[in-house]
Symmetry: C2
Subunit: 331 residues, 2 copies
């Protein structure tokens, strides 16, 4: 059985560096990636080539955006060695993720394999798992690496062609850019900012049920929406709440942010002060939007409310709701 060392960098301090105090009160799931992204190294093609062959280097395979995990004493990421990767004859170049203790880490899209578990010839402790489910079980540092891997692999899958001229693009700089072989245009990985906001007045907050996946009975969350081009965060908060719920928002306060790799969102969490009360729902997007009393929300956070369920701690919405319910937000 291969030896897969567990990443030791799991504490919050690892995010800013060893021995450094960091007063972040929350490290959201998917934040906390301990890798040094190797900005200098990725500009050096020779270094990248050698790193990809170095025996200590590690490769995280993703198959149809599912990630290889190993069930040992708790699930962990399933890293492969360069030799194991070479044997698979993958035609897609690996994406350089970064360095930990001098060891190069890569993600590799093995979707071309028909039966990856079989072809990888791994024991039964290994399996490919849906990334969101995996993230809920991995330790913080590994969930952070998974976030980066999933977003990068997905972006490369969807950007094989140049949006300017339609020709083929090639990966450069270890995956930080794709260059068009014809017109020469450079394309960079995208990160889509999303405003997610808990709107409140003194004793009530505004929760909604969007159509589609989240329209489960009794499940309500903070409102959210992608930023439009040419608007700032605060404008996006006000516009989305006006569009989805017909509520006007005054003051907006930033709370925290979370990478959300489905496929590559940046969740920008805010609290907003409601300055009107009558809800007018955008029924195309929302199944329901309602005001909830603080006491109800506290019960829902404890899982004790029969008719109201709110997102779990994996989602930034949970922390926005909790901060307000605990009285940390006053207007």
């Amino acid at each position: 059985m291969r030896h897969v060392p567990r990443l030791g960098l799991t504490s919050r301090a690892a995010i800013v560096g060893p021995g450094i105090h960091c007063p972040l009160s929350i490290t959201h799931t998917f934040a906390g990636n301990p890798l040094d992204r190797g900005d200098a190294q990725r500009r050096d093609p020779k270094w990248l080539e050698e790193a990809a062959r170095a025996p200590e280097s590690r490769f995280l395979p993703m198959w149809q955006l599912n990630v290889l995990v190993q069930d040992a004493s708790g699930p962990r990421l399933g890293w492969l060695s360069p030799t194991e990767v070479e044997r698979l004859q993958i035609r897609v170049p690996p994406v350089f993720l970064g360095l930990a203790d001098g060891v190069a880490h890569f993600a590799i899209d093995v979707s071309q394999l028909g039966d990856p578990a079989h072809e990888l010839d791994l024991d039964e402790t290994f399996r490919f798992q849906e990334s969101r489910t995996a993230a809920g079980q991995l330790e913080s540092a590994e969930a952070g690496i998974l976030a980066q891997s999933r977003s990068q692999v997905d972006w490369h899958r969807r950007h094989q062609f140049c949006s300017v001229c339609g020709a083929r693009t090639e990966q450069e700089r270890g995956g930080h850019v794709r260059k068009c072989g014809d017109c020469g245009a450079e394309h960079f990985p995208r990160t889509d900012p999303v405003a997610i906001m808990l709107i409140s007045d003194s004793e009530r907050c505004l929760l909604g049920q969007s159509r589609g996946r989240l329209a489960r009975t009794g499940f309500y969350s903070a409102l959210a929406g992608f930023l439009d081009q040419g608007e700032c965060i605060e404008e996006a908060v006000r516009r989305e709440v006006r569009e989805e719920a017909g509520i006007q928002v005054g003051e907006v306060r930033y709370h925290s942010s979370q990478p959300w790799p489905f496929p590559s969102s940046l969740m920008i969490g805010c609290h907003g002060q409601a300055i009107t009360t009558d809800i007018h729902i955008d029924s195309a997007e929302m199944a329901d939007v309602r005001w909830f009393e603080r006491e109800e929300v506290l019960r829902a956070l404890r899982g004790e409310h029969a008719d109201l369920r709110v997102p779990g701690a994996m989602a930034i919405a949970h922390h926005l709701i909790k901060a307000w319910a605990n009285g940390e937000v006053t207007w």
Copy 2:
């Protein structure tokens, strides 16, 4: 001479709605777009078609990303009527920007014209102007509309082809999506989040001179960089400062945000606490990074420092620097 009514929505209140108090202390240049983006209307092709023909509708032409302005009592955006646009026989569909007082506003890329001033047959008060220069002279609301227009027009120019399969894409929903005619993939306008941060300790702040455009003698600004996939804002602040200056950052505080339409950035302005002092420059990206004393920075902000110049009020960097220099940031 055509009558081009001036937009009346210039006050800060217009951003959140008439008569509503908004405690934003800063409205950055390019924020403050007063248009209702018409989320419902843009989903209705028939409505869009009729709006594009309605005589009161307004079209903002952009030529090679320069914007039409009119010099009257101060520069203003140069809007065209549907009749004027029709005459030009532009092959590119207009982009729906939104509504003001029920009037539909569009941006239209007229880059196919060889001599736009001549073909538009406008008097000498009209001219196409570089967008950044124009924004410095326009009133806030119009600079906001320009930000949206420039980002949207540029995005459509660069996304005529599908990045998934290389086939042609077509504009839908008034320009909020491009759909591939072959594989059916939907592509949405991109907004690229950038962390821009003023790092400081008790009496000094960290300013840098990047290589390239900004490497003008004596010109220093806040450090900045695009967010990577799979990182939160606070992580991006720490990573960029570590990469560019070798300084470790502890606490990070969000300050404000600014749309920056060159081509479509979202500047996320933060203050960060330095917890180390020795600078190690990334010489590939930075020409210089230095600590500056508060007194020096205050003089530079007043334009009275012989050897240090800092960005003007159009840039969020100016406001980050000013807030710190004025003692609004303490650690």
